[in-house]
């Protein structure tokens, strides 16, 4: 870490600056810029397939942008070599879309995994720390279950405990609410908020679940087709009368995001046989 | 507990595997024969070695006392030069004779040693000069046919 980070870097933990990313010729992100303020929970929302997950992968350094810069703390992620990148990733936690728990280990070993791999702590200390993390997500009693024995909500909570195992400064959530029942949804939502504040971490949530995330986040980016369409605090978004924001927040079937996939004139298509 | 059980099984597996390797080496391959350290080499020249191969046994009175270690061709005398490694426990006189024999009618070929009466013993690098070549089946048949034909010539000339 640099001795005196510039003001903006201190305020914004993650800065994405004019990033373009494409798989071959398919453009996923186009000149996108966004900032994540330290200590906040930020949601990046958008329809499925609009490049939200790609954004997380860029921050984690798994993908490199075609142009632009991704800055985490005062490090420019695309320029890091593998060793530097791995050192940075130790300070990041990530919750994957389907949890991605290690299926050959029980709940305890899953949460203890990073501590065992990355630290030389004695087994008693690892035990205490792991039980603390499991306690925080309310699953201390499930420590010896295998991932296949967990319900979807429990698996998500274990994955959450694993993501915060090393007390990261940045936690990224990829669709933390997908496929959960309302109770689990509320639990996970509350956990994200409380854990973020308790750890003094910064969280980025990528989601398409508007209602749940608006309850817990500080700031929202709305994305569509690889560009940021709207941004603001939760109040800003709820008050906004931008047609796109309204369509998304009110979950309307048709609007600026059309119901129909681009096609030629309906009549014409029916006539040509 | 779980971990110990796993270690136990893997340990058992490795022990079984090593035991199998030892069994293959000692019981199946009988790795108690001679090693090169305690052997001496002598040379022998043969007109024809037939089907003799490197590592073929060298036997005296039916006991394996050594092995063929090398087969070469002498371009001057046009003979086969066979290097034989003999276990140093066994000593043979300098007038020893060697012959290439066949175990059974069609079996593998080996070198038979018949020791002589000389009091001097063979040393490393010595040449054995009393040798008899392999019996080649084709030559035998050829000779047999030739002698038969000779018997037959009398009859044809008589006609």
């Amino acid at each position: 870490m640099a001795p005196t980070p510039p003001h903006s870097a201190a305020e914004n933990l993650v800065t994405i600056d004019d990033v373009t990313f494409a798989y071959d010729s398919r453009v996923i992100l186009e000149n996108i810029s966004l900032k994540v303020t330290r200590g906040k929970v930020v949601a990046i929302m958008g329809a499925s397939g609009c490049g939200k997950t790609t954004l997380l992968r860029l921050i984690g350094g798994q993908l490199k942008p075609a142009s632009g810069n991704v800055q985490v703390g005062n490090l420019s992620v695309p320029t890091l070599n593998t060793a530097e990148l791995f050192r940075l990733r130790r300070k990041m936690g990530m919750l994957f879309q389907m949890g991605a728990l290690f299926t050959d280990m029980n709940v305890f070993d899953n949460v203890a995994f990073q501590m065992r791999e990355h630290t030389d702590l004695p087994e008693t200390a690892i035990r205490d720390l792991t039980l603390m993390k499991l306690h925080a997500v309310g699953l201390r009693g499930a420590w010896n279950l295998m991932p296949s024995e967990l319900s979807g909500g429990m698996a998500r909570r274990v994955a959450l405990a694993r993501a915060i195992a090393l007390d990261p400064m940045l936690v990224m959530y990829d669709e933390p609410f997908a496929g959960l029942d309302p109770i689990s949804l509320a639990i996970v939502g509350r956990l994200i908020r409380t854990l973020n504040d308790a750890l003094g971490a910064t969280s980025i949530i990528v989601t398409h679940d508007v209602q749940e995330s608006l309850k817990i986040v500080d700031y929202v980016y709305l994305m569509s087709d690889g560009v940021v369409m709207a941004e603001g605090t939760v109040a800003d978004i709820q008050r906004s009368d931008d047609p796109f924001v309204r369509q998304f927040v009110d979950a309307r079937a048709d609007g600026p995001v059309p119901f129909h996939y681009p096609a030629q004139e309906y009549q014409a298509m029916l006539m040509e046989s | 507990m779980k971990r110990q059980l796993l270690d136990f099984w893997v340990g058992l597996f490795v022990a079984l595997g090593i035991a199998a390797l030892v069994f293959l080496s000692l019981r199946v391959a009988n790795l108690t024969g001679l090693d090169d350290g305690s052997a001496y080499s002598v040379l022998a020249e043969f007109d024809n070695i037939g089907g003799l191969k490197v590592r073929a046994p060298v036997k005296s009175a039916g006991v394996t006392v050594g092995r063929v270690s090398d087969i070469d061709y002498d371009t001057v005398q046009h003979k086969a030069v066979v290097t034989v490694a003999i276990d140093s426990r066994y000593q043979f006189s300098t007038d020893t004779s060697m012959s290439i024999l066949t175990s059974g009618l069609l079996g593998e070929q080996y070198i038979g040693i018949q020791t002589g009466s000389d009091s001097e013993m063979l040393q490393d690098g010595d040449l054995v000069w009393l040798t008899s070549s392999a019996m080649v089946l084709e030559n035998l048949i050829g000779e047999f046919l030739f002698s038969k034909a000779k018997e037959g010539t009398g009859d044809t000339e008589a006609q």
Partner: protein, 267 residues
């Protein structure tokens, strides 16, 4: 005219595509091989990981190896005795069984059996870890999946296959012994002495062992490669599993010919 040219060039492209695709795959495999070898240091630093995988690759394959080895030995004993007896040399059945097992059948059959029992399981396991994002998750935790997941399985496979092959050989010889001595009435002493006189340590046992090490590297590498590069869908994993068994079989048989040609050329 340009249409014609396009068709011709298209034809040549279609002709060349499989070749270039295979070359790309080969290059990727070679790079992955180097990557795995470089990452294999973890096997020495953390032997516990290797022991765990040896349980799944070695111990779990024991039953199929023991049963198949026994039956191969029994059948070899019966068949060989029947053929040899026509020439009045039924007594050397022990030697024939031992030689065929130690030189060829042991290494080849065990490699084929292990690749279908353990190789396919390794592919499916790694493929599933990829499909469920476990490998990506590991990478995000600053842990190299090649070192943590692939290398221990690779080392465990290389250690397990030669041991399993030796066990297969011994059980097979025992099967031959049962048939020859107890069923067909060959003398016990003759059975063993014929075997001992014919089987050479360097030529047969060591060469057989070398073969099994080569096969071990081949089948376990194919298994981890297929798993690690499987398409991350259920379909992709099942395809990769099938490919592991098929490719292992082809590579083992092909390698066997090459190795045999090198080893037994002069004998």
């Amino acid at each position: 005219m340009s249409d014609y040219l396009q068709r011709v060039s298209g034809f040549f492209q279609a002709l060349g595509r499989p070749v270039t695709e295979q070359l790309v795959a080969l290059g990727r495999a070679a790079r992955f091989f180097v990557e795995v070898i470089l990452a294999s240091g973890i096997c020495l630093r953390r032997p516990g990981l290797v022991v765990r995988e040896m349980y799944f690759i070695g111990v779990m394959s024991l039953v199929i190896i023991l049963v198949s080895g026994l039956f191969v030995g029994l059948v070899l004993g019966l068949q060989m005795y029947d053929t040899l007896e026509r020439f009045g040399s039924g007594d050397i059945v022990g030697m024939v069984v031992a030689l065929s097992l130690v030189r060829e059948l042991g290494p080849v059959l065990s490699a084929l059996l292990i690749s279908s029992r353990a190789g396919s399981a390794v592919t499916a396991e790694i493929g599933l870890m990829k499909t469920t994002e476990q490998l990506t998750a590991m990478e995000m935790m600053a842990i190299q999946p090649v070192a943590r997941v692939v290398a221990p399985r690779f080392c465990a496979g290389i250690l397990s296959v030669p041991l399993l092959t030796a066990i297969f050989n011994v059980v097979g010889i025992f099967g031959g012994y049962l048939v020859a001595v107890h069923l067909l009435g060959v003398d016990t002493g003759t059975f063993w002495s014929q075997m001992e006189s014919a089987v050479d340590f360097r030529m047969d046992v060591v060469n057989g062992f070398i073969k099994s090490v080569f096969f071990a590297v081949a089948i376990i590498f194919i298994a981890v490669f297929q798993g690690f590069h499987a398409t991350a869908t259920a379909e992709g994993v099942s395809l990769a599993t099938t490919q592991t068994v098929v490719k292992s079989a082809l590579v083992v048989l092909g390698m066997d010919f090459v190795l045999t040609a090198f080893m037994f050329r002069g004998i």
